[in-house]
Symmetry: C2
Subunit: 482 residues, 2 copies
């Protein structure tokens, strides 16, 4: 079991070598200086402590053991750590709660992981300007609850919201269940404080809704997965709390019918807050575990939610239901009240955990232009069936973003290799439809070789030029993203 | 009159010298090669022709006479022109329709202006994916009309939409009248084709709603005012056509009351499609010219519009009216129908032209966090009164974005200098409120010295590092933005 986890990256899943940018002597020198000058920084150097920072939530991906883990409590400490990392040429892995799905925060053998988990204070809720100023270590659900207590709403909503941190959400430009209506994390960011590779602290943006003074560094740092700087503070946009959600479940006899229903809702101009799909394999896994009463004979289920005010929610779900019926939907369930809606929503939130009871899950994250969801569903079904690989697909159908989950036995090297090839075929199918290999999880370490395939060498060259301009020594999360 | 327009930049309004990056011999060599190899490119070299590319809409700003103007018709021609510019080290000014308000597309003495006006085709309206693929030379209003014919809506809505081009909108991340609800131009961009300084053509994004593969180059190029590359194609997000707008005008006895009403609407969580302010000086100018029946005894007017579906529009305007009355609003006008709403909307659209009948208008573009609109209004009034400078203020109050228009006689050098000092005081006041010196017009040439004051030298250093990485010879719009 542990064999796959040691010795750095598996060449199978990350064929490009990580540049060796750290050595034990450099790290030791950094740690000695940090112990002397930075008494507030907690340093973890025992193997058992470091082991818990090796992986993120990509259990299928091999990762390195950090040489040390630093837990700063202030921006000044993060800056001091990066000054030391620059001075000693030590590679750094910025990390939030470690719930990422791209290997972006997983360990690099011998490098320094800087975890932002102790910077977990909400600094200000600015009701008048509808924004919140927060440190990166705050858990998404904690932030949501704090602003909800003021009648406000922080929209970004990753499925892992109860355990993921805002810093990780910013690093990956995390998506989630309500992007159809409210966008991804980037769309909620007004300003940042960022520590650059050399320890310089900058601020981008602020509390202004509109600001075109210079390049949009805010948008650039969000989604850069710690390769351009470490985000130490963020100003995030809030909204007035929307109406409670009305929830509709529709079951379909074929994946095609479900895909057609999604296309029909898009064409009708509906912007529901949630438009999620689960296929039969996912329904069965959830039902086996939690007995919610889902129809496991269906090929797929759509969950549609509306938070429109007044009678708008009923109107919106009526229109969604009409589009679903027109596409062949059957057995419709509408939640009678908020409690029942919340309970139905659990079906979607439990999906990944339910699948993980069946084996190692390689969760992918392909996206296509919305109208191509039916084609992508067919391609996933065709590819996985051809290779005899178990797959359960769910995802944010309203955004064109599907998560095919390839389930395999990670102790069987052939199964892992086959899963990898199947993934590559699914990536190719998504790109052939004008799609993306990652809609919300990030390139990280897991998908890096696909970046030039998707964007072309010239565009990736621009990204690398930016990376080199901001991190000339290449110490920030080397081997990730670009 | 022409005296102010010749001889390059006025040190008063742009104290940093433009680096001399072109000379007549280099340009002549470029033109000779272009005549030989690029028969499809129209080249303008006569003085009279070039003169019409000297200025943009910043009439108060001196600008250089382009050495030549190139009008390419294809991406390949733009790429070939930039390869030549790189080879001959010729500075290039990318330009759209020339309606910008920052001097960003104004001429540089002896440089090559590349105008994208001939690349004016809408390439595809993709109904199923709610997006449009367009060349940059398409006029905003033409694009709006073309997609409206398909029942769709392109939201970004600069006041100049009838004459400004999509390429210019992208270059400046243009705002407009409906940003409160629909965001700025950047928020509508899904993908770009960009020609880099050396002629390399890249694509960013695509038709996917969500895509986190690598850095967001799309967001970086939008708003970079031609300093990082030339946008030759864009994929823009559309929406289903919203309901016709319902329009409400409210008049106030004091600017403070109007500002308080805006703050009240924000606090109430209203997201009207439009929330515009006009002060008395603007009302008088419009009324003098067009006799719309506006109440010119009021200190300010707010225009609030809703395009919410069904009864939502009436509900939203009812709530806005309640907030306005609570803040001291009086004499409320509601448009009885769409034609009357359109007519009232003209009041706002005509504002700049009405003021231009009174003298040279220096239109500024400050923004503050929304709750600080009343303070910004007071600061503008205090500063302009103290210096005895005529000022008419209107703007997008719902975004915190106000346009103080300083009206002066441009043939009076003392008046121009005083106007410049007043502008600087207004900028300082906006920054003291946590604001920005430009919310939607851009840094361009007109506000460049304020970029480090607003963001700090370190953040501007990051912008310059990106600029240098992408344009190492500094040929793209030198002296603008960074």
């Amino acid at each position: 079991m542990t064999g796959g986890r040691t010795g750095g990256y598996d060449p199978l899943v990350n064929p490009q070598p990580i540049p060796a940018q750290t050595d034990p002597a450099s790290l030791a020198a950094l740690l000695a200086a940090a112990r002397l000058d930075l008494p507030g920084v907690r340093l973890l150097t025992e193997v058992a402590e470091r082991e818990s920072y090796r992986l993120d939530e990509t259990a299928y991906l091999s990762a390195g053991l950090p040489g040390a883990v630093a837990l700063p409590a202030t921006t000044a400490e993060v800056a001091a750590l990066l000054r030391l990392a620059t001075a000693h040429r030590v590679a750094v892995v910025p990390r939030g709660a470690g719930t990422g799905l791209s290997g972006g925060a997983a360990g690099i053998e011998g490098a320094l992981t800087i975890a932002l988990t102790r910077m977990d204070r909400i600094l200000e809720i600015d009701r008048a300007n509808l924004c919140v100023v927060t440190q990166p270590g705050v858990i998404n659900a904690v932030l949501k609850a704090a602003v909800a207590a003021e009648g406000l709403f922080y929209a970004p909503d990753p499925a892992s919201y109860e355990i993921c941190s805002i810093g990780g959400n910013l690093g990956t430009n995390a998506g989630g269940l309500c992007c159809v209506k409210y966008g991804q994390t980037r769309d909620a960011v007004l300003g940042l404080e960022v520590v650059l590779a050399d320890g310089t602290v900058i601020r981008t943006g602020g509390r202004n809704i509109k600001d075109v003074a210079g390049y949009s560094l805010t948008h650039l740092f969000v989604g850069s997965q710690g390769t351009l700087g470490i985000i130490t503070e963020a100003t995030l946009r809030l909204r007035p709390a929307p109406a409670p959600r009305a929830t509709l479940l529709v079951f379909f006899d074929t994946l095609d019918a479900a895909g057609d229903a999604v296309a029909g809702m898009t064409a009708a101009g509906l912007v529901p807050v949630t438009l999620e799909l689960m296929d039969r394999a996912t329904l069965v896994a959830v039902e086996d575990w939690h007995h919610l009463g889902l129809d496991v004979t269906a090929a797929a289920m759509l969950m549609i939610e509306s938070d429109a005010p007044g009678s708008g929610a009923t109107d919106e779900l009526d229109q969604a239901e009409a589009a679903a019926l027109a596409a062949g939907g059957r057995s419709i369930i509408r939640a009678a009240d908020a409690a029942e809606a919340d309970w139905l929503r659990q079906a979607r939130r439990l999906a990944l955990r339910a699948l993980e009871r069946q084996g190692t899950v390689r969760m992918e994250d392909v996206g296509v232009p919305r109208a191509s969801v039916p084609e992508l569903l067919r391609a996933i079904e065709r590819i996985t069936a051809a290779h005899g690989v178990r797959c359960a697909t769910f995802g944010h159908a309203g955004d064109g973003n599907l998560h095919p989950n390839l389930i395999f036995d990670r102790d069987d090297p052939e199964a892992a290799a086959l899963t990898h090839r199947v993934r590559d075929e699914i990536f190719r199918a998504a790109l052939d439809l004008g799609g993306t290999v990652t809609a919300e999880h990030g390139i990280g370490a897991a998908r890096r070789e696909w970046l030039p395939i998707q964007h072309g060498e010239a565009a990736v060259g621009v990204m690398r030029a930016i990376k080199t301009a901001l991190d000339p020594l290449g110490i920030l999360n080397p081997g990730r993203v670009v």
